[in-house]
Symmetry: C2
Subunit: 336 residues, 2 copies
Amino acid sequence: MIIDSHAHVVAPPELYAYQANLVASRGAAGRGRHSISDEQIQRTTEPHIERMKSVGTDMQLISPRPYTLMHSMRPPEIVRYWVEATNNLISRQAQLYPEQFRGVAGLPQSPELPIEVAVEELTRAVTELGFVGALINPDPTEGQGDPPPLSDPFWYPLYAKLVELDVPALVHSAACINPRETFHAHFITEESIAILNLADSKVFDEFPDLKLVIAHGGGSVPYQIGRWRAGRFRKGSGRERFDETLRRFYFDTVLYNQESIELLLKIVGVDRCVFGAEMPGAATVQDPDTGRWMDDVKPLVDAIDWLTPEDKNRLFSENALALYSKVGTIPALATS
Amino acid sequence: MIIDSHAHVVAPPELYAYQANLVASRGAAGRGRHSISDEQIQRTTEPHIERMKSVGTDMQLISPRPYTLMHSMRPPEIVRYWVEATNNLISRQAQLYPEQFRGVAGLPQSPELPIEVAVEELTRAVTELGFVGALINPDPTEGQGDPPPLSDPFWYPLYAKLVELDVPALVHSAACINPRETFHAHFITEESIAILNLADSKVFDEFPDLKLVIAHGGGSVPYQIGRWRAGRFRKGSGRERFDETLRRFYFDTVLYNQESIELLLKIVGVDRCVFGAEMPGAATVQDPDTGRWMDDVKPLVDAIDWLTPEDKNRLFSENALALYSKVGTIPALATS
C-alpha cells in the first residue's frame, strides 16, 4: 500500500469561485454560501484518481492547498469561512472516495484571531468530519510580520488539542506577501524556523506526545545539520544531542530528487519519515529531457539501494498508518 | 595548499571596544578614533595561526565577522566607521602575515545609505588595501524590513564595480533582529532567497562576469533543488535549466558534515565549489563523543571516496585561486 501523506485537495472551480466572492465582498458573500454538487466533485476527482493510480498511490491525505489559505486576509471572517468551506469539500471528497482519501484540516489561523478559533475547527474536523490531522502555518502573517514562534505558549492550546485528539499536524506555511520571497521559498524558510524554534524550546517537554510533521523534508535543516549540531554542543554538556531533538519530529519525502531524499533518510532515520509526493503540486510538470513527471516520487525512493524492503514498506505506508492513527477509520458524517 | 575561503577576522578586543563605544555614543566616538598596536594584533593572531596549522590550513580569506556588522544600526555613520575600522584591521593583519591572510571586505550597507557608499568602500578595500573580494549582505535591515531583492537594479552599481575590479562577493547576511530567527538561521534563509531572486532575474545577463559565492553550501537550495528544477520547467520550454542557472554561482563547503558536502558537490559540481571551514565560527566546538572539532572540515572532504586527487586540489586551492584572482598578489599599502 502506498500512502501519499502530503497531498492537497483537487477541488472543483466552484469552490474557488466562492473564495473569490468572499475576497471581493470582504466576507459579505457569507458563510457557506455556495453549492457544489457531488457530480461537480466527481468531475475533478476522477481524473485525479486516475493520475494517482498511474503512479501507484493508493491513498492520499489531503489538506487545503496551502498557498490558497490566505491566512493574512482581512477581515478574519473570510479566513474562517474559507477554511470551513475547504474542509467541508475535503470531507465530501473523502466520503465519496473513502478508499482514496483522508482529510487533513486547514485551520482558521489569522494574526487577528485567537488560537482557540483554530482549536475549534480542528475539533470539528477530527470529531465530526473524521479528519486524521491538520496543517499548522507557523506564519499566519504570510511574510508580513512577526508572529509568535512555535515555541511560544500562544500555540499551547492547539498542541494540547492535537495531543488530546491524537492527530499529527503537518507544519506548512501558506502564502507569502513579500516581493523578496515566493510562497515556495517561504515554505522552506518557515519549516526551518519551525524546527529551530521548537528544538530549543520546552514544547516537547510540555507535550511529549505531540506529533509534528515537517513538510518538504524539513526545509533546510537536515542539509544544514552540522551548524545545528555544533550550536547544541556549544550550549554545554548534558544537553540532548541535536540529532536526538530532530528525531522528535517527523518528515515527509516531498523533495523530488533521490540525493536529497537519501540525505533526509540518513540524517533523521527511516522511522521518522513518511512518503509524500504532493501530487499535484509544486512539481507537477514533466522533465522535458526525460518525460518523467517530477512529482512521481516513488521511483526515487525505490531506487535507493540501501533501503531494505521493510524500510520501503515503512516509508510507503506503515509509518503513516502509525503516525496518522485515524487513517484506518472510514470517514464519518456527511456535511455540505 | 589549503585555502579556507570563508573565514572571519580574529581581532583583538580593542577593536570591539571601539565598536561598543561607537554604538553607545551613537557615532560620536568618531571615525577611526581607536588605536591598536601591532603587538595587540599579533597577540590574537598568533594562537589563531597555530590553530590553522593544526588543521592544515595554509591561508584564510578573512572578512569581518558578519553578525557583528550591525548594518541596521542607526545612525548609518556608525556602520561606515565600524566597517572601515574592521577592514583596516584586516588589512593590517594581512600585512603582518602575508602568507596566511587575504582580506575580504565588509561593506557599509545600511537601509539608509545609497549603494554608492558600499561601492566606495569596496573600491578602497580592493585598490588601496589589496583585498581580494567583499561580503554582500542581501538584508541590511537585519530581519526588520523588506530590502530590495538582489535582482533589483538597486544593486547594479555594486555588481558593476565587482566586475570592474574582478573580485567575487561572498553572499552572507549579518545580524537578525527578530525573535523568531537567530542570525544563524537567517544566514541560511538569506542565502536561499539570494539564489532564488538572482536565478529568476536578468542580473547574470547584465553582468555575465559577476562572481557570487553563496555561503554555507548555498543555504537550502541544493537540498531543495527538485522544487526549483520543477519551477523552472513550469515556466515553459526554451528556458535555461535550473541546474545550469545554479552553476552561475559559486559555493563554499561550510557545512560541517560529510553527507551534506557530498550532496552539494553532486548537485552543483566540484568546479563551482571552494573549500571553506569558517574557523573559528559557528562550529568551533568539539563533538563531546569524538573530541573532533566540528569546524575541521578538511577530513570530511578527504573522506569523500568518489573525489579524485585532482578534485580535492581544486576544492582546497585551485578553484579559490582562480575565483579570487587577486589572492596571488601580496597585500599592498599599510594603513591604520
